[in-house]
């Protein structure tokens, strides 16, 4: 797993989500990228059940259970600022058994689906973020395979992002700052997706004019 950067692309002015995605993919194809199938990342939210909370009225913690089609046999579970667990797909079944402790927040399932592109050693995934039936935003993920230390190749990634995102290039993800010289792993990618989904959830429904 190489260093990955997940960011959000704001919807172009006067266009729909679908059209912006098409604009991006056309730019990528002009750059010389090859289409290589599809991808899907989804996320479900769980609350810690009220019965397990101590009497002092602590706020319930939110747990996110995510899947990534890049790792089809794995399931990721993470808390907001806490650790990220990497488990196999039986974890979903386990969550059903743990109904007493973790309750699923209804209608909170959010996912992003789209196409994968390969350009030299870069893997680019452009997806539409949907919550239920409505499209809420656009996610862009860029992975640079050969490098495994985040702090090494941020400038390189930035240059690549600028070449096709133009002015919408994001800043360095927070996970890059946390881990100096540590080997990058899939858990870091899922943390980035979780932050992206939370941001999109808080946004208005399909922003019309350039709200970032």
């Amino acid at each position: 797993m190489g260093v990955t950067c997940v960011s959000q692309m704001p919807v172009a002015e006067g266009r729909s989500v679908q059209q912006t995605v098409e604009l991006l993919t056309r730019k990528l194809e002009m750059l010389g990228a090859e289409k290589q199938g599809t991808f899907c990342v989804d996320c479900e939210t769980y609350h810690t059940a009220a019965s397990t909370l101590g009497g002092q009225g602590q706020a319930g913690k939110l747990m996110y259970v995510m899947h990534n089609s890049e790792y089809p046999l794995s399931c990721f579970a993470l808390f907001e600022n806490g650790p990220c667990l990497v488990a196999d797909t039986n974890f979903d079944v386990l969550m059903v058994k743990l109904k007493g402790f973790f309750q699923s927040a209804k209608a909170s399932k959010i996912e992003t689906r789209g196409t994968r592109y390969q350009y030299c050693d870069f893997l680019v995934k452009v997806g539409t973020v949907t919550m239920g039936p409505s499209a809420r935003g656009i996610s862009v993920e860029v992975e640079y395979g050969p490098c495994v230390v985040a702090s090494d190749c941020w400038s390189l990634l930035l240059e690549f992002l600028q070449s096709f995102l133009g002015s919408h290039t994001p800043g360095a993800p927070t996970v890059f700052g946390n881990r100096h010289d540590a080997v990058y792993g899939p858990a870091d990618t899922m943390i980035q997706y979780m932050e992206l989904f939370n941001k999109i959830r808080k946004q208005q429904q399909v922003p019309v004019a350039g709200i970032r």
Partner: protein, 311 residues
């Protein structure tokens, strides 16, 4: 010749046997001549017939005698020894079709030629080292006179010496670690790990570097049996490019008399790749060119360039 090849071959009997073959040939041809000539001119028919038969019998007797002689001698000659002192290349000489496949003679010529070439090159390098272009004091000039005619070849070095050199280089750079193993005979195979950037597999032949393969830090360098995989290429284009550059480097750093200096220079050059993803190209200032970072490192200055930007 006598003591090496013909152990068990009696040379005396051999030459006598060859003479006996010649005698046998001449007596056989005399028989046929006699038959060809037919009967000589004599007074009576009987006389002619008798003379002819007597002559013919004489010739046949001489053939018989020569044949017996030859058989006796051939028993004395004995067999040549079964061992091939020439080993595998001597088996090539058994092929009798010299016109179409003159392999053995060509092999001998090539061997003699390369021996002469090595000898002349050694003499030339000795002379050239005396005429040094550098101003610094060169102790090679002194040792050139003291060097013996048969140069100690650096191709045959004790493995312990190779181990020592490699472990000294290992301690030279903190971010580079070298692990030596000998899975296939005496040639050393090094696994060089450079920081968290890349891994290099170096196949050596005594202290000369033969081949290198560069792979990513997270790629698998072992085969399924757990042995070092020295053949499969990297999955990433950037490391395939660096492998090509490394092959160019090991052809560039050449010094037959001092192979440990060569290995040291190669490792110093390789170490400059610790900043493979961080250094921009010195010529165009950018990080990416066709999706690749600056993969070329100049041999003298160790500056980073894109493959298309280098001079």
């Amino acid at each position: 010749m006598a003591d090496v090849l013909s152990v068990g071959v009696n040379l005396e009997a051999f030459s006598q046997a060859i003479n006996a073959i010649q005698a046998l040939r001449s007596s056989v041809s005399r028989v046929f001549d006699c038959l060809k000539d037919g009967m000589r001119n004599k007074e009576t028919l009987e006389g002619r017939e008798k003379a002819f038969i007597a002559h013919f019998q004489d010739n046949l007797h001489s053939v018989n005698r020569d044949l017996n002689e030859l058989e006796r001698l051939s028993n004395l000659v004995g067999k040549p020894s079964e061992n091939h002192p020439l080993h595998n290349s001597g088996l090539l000489s058994l092929d009798p079709v010299q016109d179409k496949t003159p392999l053995y003679s060509q092999l001998l010529q090539a061997y003699k030629w390369s021996n002469k070439l090595q000898y002349h090159a050694g003499l030339a390098s000795g002379l050239l080292n005396q005429q040094s272009l550098k101003r610094s004091a060169n102790q090679m000039g002194v040792s050139a006179k003291r060097r013996p005619k048969a140069q100690p070849t650096t191709l045959v070095l004790p493995p312990q010496y190779v181990d020592d050199v490699i472990s000294r280089i290992d301690r030279m750079f903190p971010e580079m670690s070298i692990h030596l193993s000998r899975p296939n005979g005496t040639s050393a195979m090094l696994l060089v790990t450079l920081g968290k950037v890349l891994k290099v597999i170096v196949v050596m032949r005594s202290l000369f570097i033969d081949r290198t393969i560069v792979k990513g830090y997270n790629e698998n360098v072992y085969t399924e049996d757990g042995k070092l995989d020295i053949w499969s290429k990297s999955n990433y284009q950037v490391f395939q490019k660096v492998t090509d550059h490394a092959t160019t480097a090991l052809l560039h750093y050449q010094l037959p008399q001092m192979p440990d200096v060569v290995v040291r220079s190669f490792m110093t050059w390789l170490r400059s790749y610790i900043k493979l993803f961080q250094a921009p190209c010195q010529r165009c200032g950018k990080f990416l060119q066709d999706g690749l970072p600056p993969t070329w490192r100049d041999f003298r200055t160790l500056e980073a360039f894109h493959d298309t930007c280098r001079q």
